[in-house]
């Protein structure tokens, strides 16, 4: 159960996030990634993300990701309220370590993919997706 003090602390935390978005986002993303990899080093490359350079609407951004030899891929948003997008685990029936889906991006940001390889190592890559602010947001 939450005590009043906890609630107060949570409230403070939320305010801090609101006041310091850039730093807080960066920390949250770092924490999220560290939690996933257990702090292991990641090799750059070996993962391919296909996403529009400019998304016409951040609400539905088509993105695909593949990584040869991966058993699992996670997608991370670096500028959303929460970093996680999805974790894709490939089973023995998988034909290739790839996935295509549609994601929400709150603003222009990097999308990071981390692939967990069969030997337990990690590979990563990132792409920037510019999210335009429509003129007629009807």
């Amino acid at each position: 159960m939450l005590t009043r003090r906890d609630t107060f602390a949570i409230g403070l935390g939320a305010s801090a996030v609101a006041l310091l978005p850039a730093t807080a986002f960066a920390d949250a993303v770092e924490d999220w990634i560290t939690a996933y990899t257990g702090g292991a080093a990641m090799e750059e490359g070996g993962v391919t993300i296909t996403a529009p350079e400019i998304a016409e609407n951040g609400n539905t951004v088509p993105v695909s990701v593949s990584a040869e030899g991966a058993t699992e891929i996670v997608l991370v948003a670096t500028g959303n309220p929460t970093p996680g997008l999805g974790r894709f685990t490939f089973g023995p029936g998988s034909g290739a370590p790839m996935i295509a889906t549609r994601i929400r991006l709150g603003r222009t940001q990097d999308v990071v993919a981390i692939a967990k390889m069969a030997d337990g190592t990690f590979k990563t890559t990132r792409v920037e997706v510019k999210v335009t602010i429509g003129g007629c947001g009807g």
Binding site: P52, I54, A55, E56, N57, N59, T60, P62, T132, I133, G134, G135, C136, G137, G138
Partner: protein, 289 residues
């Protein structure tokens, strides 16, 4: 803002318009793009202009030509087009009995593929009583007068599913609304509205969609404002948007009080705007950002 003197207000409005259009890079429609659904059905996205309806347009362009490659691709595959969810829901409603008469759409109209083919292409249309009706009016008339069922909300899920389903039966057919005879006064009213400046920004439909086609309004391409693609799946809404809903959004964006969906004004405007797209293919259910 409403307390400003007229001259001041005008200057302010001009400033706003200038701000909206500043840095307007010319972003012409992509005239090399070809709209083909599932590799089979070609849809006309460019149609010749004429001197009566669109004397100020060099050619009529579907809004599809103004979208990014990703958005265009989503419409070219019926599986990837999320609007098909609404079409399927509409197909189910077509055969669902509702109301005191114990009837479904299908009981009277049979197979929609035959009976509804071409209907969307001629909407809105003047009914037997001389009143201009949108497709939504025809649907609700059936429901309340023949089926003894409740009218659906203009932009409610049931209605947009039904209009999506009906629209699909005309997919690929050229827009062919009637604008003469009994439709003439409605068409005139719609044209009048199209060139009337609304709102605190004092913008008419024509200011954006005729004078500035291909330019950017902030980060968005201004299309010709064609409605041949409606009902449309808007990525922003993650749902189906009706023509009148889009009109409301546009007028609100001029910072005006808007007309109601289904109002006399919007039905007249719908007829006029539809006529500006005569010859363009009905896209059935399009995808727009």
């Amino acid at each position: 803002m409403q307390h400003l003197k007229p001259a001041r207000s005008l200057a302010l409005a001009s400033a706003c318009v200038a701000a909206l259009w500043s840095g307007a890079a010319l972003a012409d429609p992509d005239l090399t793009a070809d709209l083909v659904i599932d590799g089979e059905l070609h849809i006309v996205t460019r149609a010749p202009s004429d001197d009566i309806i669109t004397p100020n347009l060099p050619e009529r362009y579907s809004g599809w030509l103004f979208r990014s490659e990703d958005t265009r691709a989503m419409e070219m595959d019926d599986f990837e087009n999320p609007a098909m969810i609404a079409v399927e829901a509409g197909a189910e409603l077509w055969t669902t009995v509702d109301g005191t008469a114990g009837q479904s759409c299908q009981d009277c109209h049979g197979d929609a593929e035959e009976s509804m083919r071409g209907v969307r292409a001629m909407m809105p249309h003047v009914n037997e009583d001389g009143v201009l009706w949108s497709m939504e009016n025809y649907v609700n008339n059936c429901r309340t007068e023949r089926m003894g069922a409740e009218a659906w909300r203009w932009s409610g899920d049931e209605m947009t599913s039904m209009t999506s389903f009906l629209s699909l039966q005309s997919r690929g057919m050229p827009v062919a609304v009637q604008i003469d005879g009994p439709a003439a006064p409605y068409w005139e009213q719609g044209r009048e509205m199209y060139y009337t400046r609304y709102g605190q920004l004092e913008l008419s439909c024509a200011n954006c969609h005729e004078d500035s086609t291909g330019q950017m309004i902030r980060a968005d391409h201004l299309s010709q404002g064609q409605i041949s693609g409606f009902p449309t799946y808007r990525l922003k809404n993650a749902g189906i948007v009706s023509v009148h809903n889009r009109f409301r959004g546009c007028i609100r964006d001029t910072r005006a009080e808007t007309f109601a969906e289904g109002s006399d004004e919007f039905r007249a405007l719908e007829l006029y705007v539809a006529s500006r797209g005569i010859g363009l293919g009905v896209e059935g259910v399009s995808v727009r950002p």
